[in-house]
């Protein structure tokens, strides 16, 4: 990618982060930490990687994305809104009684959401089913799913991975946000899921480890995914990230897994993101 493209993506990621703060602040609840850590990934998927059409969200030949870590809906919604699936101004209505923006992704109410998720470990199975379905139908459709590293403790994740490898789903990309934190603390202390790379390799996947904040590394990982077509193996992208990335007081704090910023915190966070935007703009 060239410098101007990189700059555009970085600016977009800042907007995604602002949307996350706006949504969780408006909801007075929700999950900012894991939404922020995946902001670059959401941005890249919806602005660069996926073959989608915001004007036709149900287009049957589109690529699919399943947010297996469904609690990070604010990140997904923010990217979808900025990509034009629905008005950005609706983000502030997240989780409100009369809002279509449900606390966890709902495929029947939110334009652009390909699967209803929220119960951890299940999204990856539905995505594997979509990838299998695409192969069965002979369609050139790519299916992406995003999990958290805490989610890997769910046994169903490994049932799904086994299924994906068994059925040679090389159109399937499993992305894991390794921010190292979950509700009760550090993943390595709560239930150690490491070594994640060796586990997925042993299950028969092509595994790529990247810095999840780095767009060039994300691009290279997806290039590798596309080169894996024909390898008969699913691709796994393990991205090292920082939970709460971009908002200083949230960074690497388990306490910000599922807590909304209050008014003062919101103002501070938005000011920090605005400063980050200016810095990218002027670089």
């Amino acid at each position: 990618m060239n410098a101007s493209e990189l700059k555009e993506l970085k600016l977009k990621a800042v907007e995604v982060r602002k949307g996350i703060l706006t949504a969780t602040h408006g909801a007075k609840s929700g999950h900012p930490g894991g939404s922020l850590s995946s902001a670059e990934m959401f941005t890249y998927l919806y602005f660069k990687e996926m073959n989608i059409d915001p004007k036709n969200p149900k287009w049957e030949d589109r690529d699919r994305f399943v947010l297996s870590k469904g609690h990070t809906a604010p990140g997904l919604y923010s990217a979808l809104a900025l990509r034009g699936f629905f008005p950005v101004s609706d983000l502030a209505n997240l989780r409100h009684t009369d809002s279509y923006l449900q606390g966890h992704p709902n495929m029947n109410t939110v334009p652009g959401v390909d699967m209803s998720t929220g119960s951890l470990g299940q999204g990856i199975s539905t995505a594997a089913g979509m990838a299998k379905g695409a192969k069965y139908l002979g369609k050139d459709i790519h299916v992406y799913t995003l999990l958290g590293d805490g989610e890997l403790a769910e046994g169903q994740v490994w049932e799904a991975t086994m299924f994906a490898a068994h059925y040679k789903l090389d159109n399937f990309c499993i992305i894991v946000d390794i921010n190292g934190l979950q509700i009760d603390g550090r993943t390595k202390d709560v239930m150690n899921t490491a070594p994640v790379d060796a586990k997925f390799e042993a299950f028969g996947c092509n595994v790529i480890t990247i810095d999840g904040d780095d767009f060039e590394q994300i691009e290279n990982a997806f290039d590798a995914f596309h080169k894996n077509a024909g390898s008969e193996k699913p691709t796994v992208i393990l991205m090292k990230t920082t939970k709460g990335k971009g908002v200083s007081y949230m960074e690497d704090q388990a306490g910000w897994h599922g807590k909304a910023p209050n008014d003062a915190e919101y103002e501070q966070g938005m000011a920090e993101l605005e400063a980050a935007r200016k810095e990218i703009e002027e670089a």
């Binding site: 470990g121 089913g129 299998k132 139908l137 049932e159 086994m162 299924f163």
Partner: protein, 315 residues
């Protein structure tokens, strides 16, 4: 009924899938290492590229079904009732029920008649679990003919469906011209003294009971109720008005199944005394299916006894 043809409804399931498969190109079948037992192996043999074995991983299989449905296919997710409704309950609730996906769950080996495998595999709770999921259609066929027509009707409707089939061979009493409709009960005998509403393989037992009661001078309104949800309220109320007392019969815990579904309709519209014949809130055990059904009172003799007792009680 020794001279009557007997077929296990799990065989009907496999045969119906194969028959449908020839014209329905969007129909795919999933199984969890039980294709020989659930009889999806019949479909697999005819359409090997449309049968996906998911291995012994029912939760994953259930959600793979949701993913396939989201791609526009019509998956029939197949395993034993214990695992389809029990183990994968939350997958069905959150990822088939909540998004209202077009997944059909074919659950075989329902109830006590699983037999020798014992309580761990004798699911008598599946109606209760599946009924509480909003938008879920719950059905249980009474014989081979109804089972095959049910599978076709499930394929033709949009939305999630749970179907329970049996392991044991049971009498076939419908003729091929029987018209099956989802949500509709079938009147097998008109009567005025007592109504018997049965589902699944209890229907042939209820037919036998009806004959015995007739010999004793009792007029029975006999109903086959293949759809547990949405239940045929109109027919239940008709039976209540005509007979004033109802016996329900199911191979399921008396908690949460057909009996309670009937009671709910009656309690809110036309209260009449009811006797629920079913598994009395207990686990099963090993034994041949026929012996077990008798031991748990899931047989014509006990239906007769309970019907007479209800008539006596309400005199």
């Amino acid at each position: 009924m020794a001279d009557i043809k007997k077929v296990a409804t799990r065989d009907s399931y496999g045969n119906a899938l194969k028959e449908l498969g020839a014209s329905a190109s969007d129909l795919v079948v999933l199984d969890a290492d039980l294709a020989g037992a659930t009889k999806t192996g019949i479909f697999q043999k005819a359409f090997p590229d449309r049968h996906f074995d998911c291995g012994i991983a029912e939760c994953n299989m259930t959600d793979v079904g949701a993913g396939l449905a989201a791609m526009g296919l019509v998956p029939f997710v197949s395993t034993f009732a214990m695992f389809a409704a029990g183990r994968a309950y939350e997958q069905v609730r959150n990822t088939i029920g909540y998004p209202h996906l077009n997944v059909k769950i074919g659950a075989t080996h329902g109830g006590i008649s699983v037999g020798e495998d014992g309580a761990s595999h004798q699911c008598c709770e599946d109606f209760a679990l599946m009924r509480t999921i909003p938008g879920m259609t719950v059905m249980c066929p009474s014989d081979d003919v109804e089972a095959r027509k049910m599978v076709k009707a499930a394929y033709e409707m949009k939305g999630p469906v749970y179907m329970r089939f049996g392991r044991a061979a049971t009498p076939v009493f419908h003729s091929e011209d029987y018209k099956f409709e989802i949500g509709k009960g079938e009147v097998l005998n008109e009567g005025t003294d007592v109504a018997i509403i049965a589902t699944g393989i209890m229907v042939p037992e209820a037919i036998e009971a009806c004959k015995t009661l007739k010999d004793k001078g009792v007029s029975v309104y006999l109903i086959n109720m293949p759809t547990i949800k949405p239940i045929d309220e109109k027919l239940i109320l008709d039976a209540a008005e005509k007979c004033g007392k109802i016996v329900t019969v199911e191979e399921h815990n008396i908690i949460g199944g057909l009996g309670e579904a009937v009671c709910s309709v009656l309690a809110e519209n036309h209260p009449v005394p009811v006797k629920r014949v079913g598994v009395n809130d207990e686990f099963g055990h090993s034994g041949p299916a026929g012996e077990l059904l008798k031991a748990f009172g899931l047989c014509a003799d006990n239906i007769v006894e309970q019907a007479l007792a209800l008539i006596e009680k309400t005199k």
